[in-house]
Amino acid sequence: MLLREVGYVRPGSVAEALAALAADDGARALAGGQTLVNVMKARAGSPDVLVDLNGIDALKGIELGGDGTLEIGAMTTYSEIVASSEARARPILGEVCAQIADVQVRNRGTIGGNVCTNDPTNHLPPLLAAIGAEFTIQGADGSRTVSAADFFLGVYFTAVGPGELLTSVRIPAGRSDGFAAVTLGVDGTCIASAAASLNGHVRVALGCVDAVPVVLEPAAADADAVRAAVQGASLDPPSDVHASAAYRVHLAEVLAVRAVQQAQGSA
């Protein structure tokens, strides 16, 4: 509670938002606020100006392309993704978003905020990395699209630089996906997570074991191959009150196999 003093602007367009962000290097984009506001309560982070993106319609909504590609606006909430018929083109999206926290958080929290925060315990970074999502970032001098590998740089760090905005997430067509996690209570914070996608080739992304999702491409979808791939990744996750590094490494292996099995089942 009791935030430090902060400025507030509510732009109506991406251009205005970019201008506001560029105007002050202490400016931060405010999406759903389900993480940022809490960090500000603790006064652990203290932006000088909040650029509230909630008034920008261009950043909201889900489009399903003819080729099955999904274009999801960065300010689209988890609830909107869960409810969206278009989003069912990639069913895992709604399934995972429905597991994030609770109704209130899903009503405010956004896909853009989730990936830009890139807290290692977040659900979407490993999922989007596994299913080959691409991220469109807009800056003063135009926009660019980057892969997950180039997007996630570190805890609370992404390819979205100062004065830039993540505007949308593009998700290719596909169906054979899986997500498995051990959480702190049902629908709770992830202690370890793994997402898998079998569209064309086997791709697994591990959460909670590094600053960014750890993407693996096992030679095959059988349990041994997946285990081997995780073991080959020589993970060095942090220990915390919920899990030792060793336990996280073990969970990563088990969950990777389960995510792949789920992906096979959902094919």
């Binding site: 202490g26 931060r28 993480t35 940022l36 960090v39 500000m40 603790a42 006064r43 652990a44 982070g45 203290s46 932006p47 925060t117 890139n118 807290d119 290692p120 315990t121 570190g154 805890v155 609370y156 760090f157 909670c208 590094d210 600053a211 942090p238 915390d240 009150v241 919920h242």
Partner: protein, 147 residues
């Protein structure tokens, strides 16, 4: 939390040593330095804003060189005092000639107390590792430009 590692520099040891012992040069390698004061050749103070992505953590950081054996070893005691966080860090580096280059072995023991220390356990280590990588990369640039 203990972090350590090795780093090779394509530069002679004295060049690396010079950078590591030049407050101004060090300031350029540290993340989010906003101002920097040199009290004497063993004590410096920096006002930094550690870029935590979600807004940054402001800290006043006092550094003191507690041990020095030119040109191969030095140890620093670093105390950071910021809202909701107390950073204390002892770091040391050893330089060895390695052909035409220099091999640096470094180690740091980082302690963060206060709400941030409590809150951020699961993200602290990745963040520290990441900051260390930034510093080393910057160090590289400094060494190159210094030679």
């Amino acid at each position: 939390m203990n972090v350590s590692g090795e780093r090779e520099f394509a530069a002679p040891r004295d060049a690396v040593w010079r950078v590591l012992n030049d407050p101004a040069a060090m300031a350029r390698t540290m993340p989010g330095v906003e101002s920097f004061d040199v009290h004497d050749d063993t004590r410096w103070t920096a006002n930094v804003k550690i870029p935590l992505g979600l807004g940054g953590l402001r800290m006043k950081v006092d550094m003191e060189k507690v041990d020095e054996r030119e040109p191969e070893h030095a140890a620093l005691q670093i105390k950071g005092n910021g809202v909701g966080a107390m950073l204390s860090m002892t770091t040391s580096f050893d330089l060895a000639e390695n052909g035409s280059g220099t091999l640096m072995k470094w180690a740091a023991d980082v302690k963060i107390a206060g709400p941030v220390g409590s809150m951020g356990q699961r993200v602290l280590q990745p963040i520290v590792n990441q900051q260390v990588q930034h510093v080393l990369a910057a160090l590289d640039r400094e060494v190159q430009s210094g030679t």
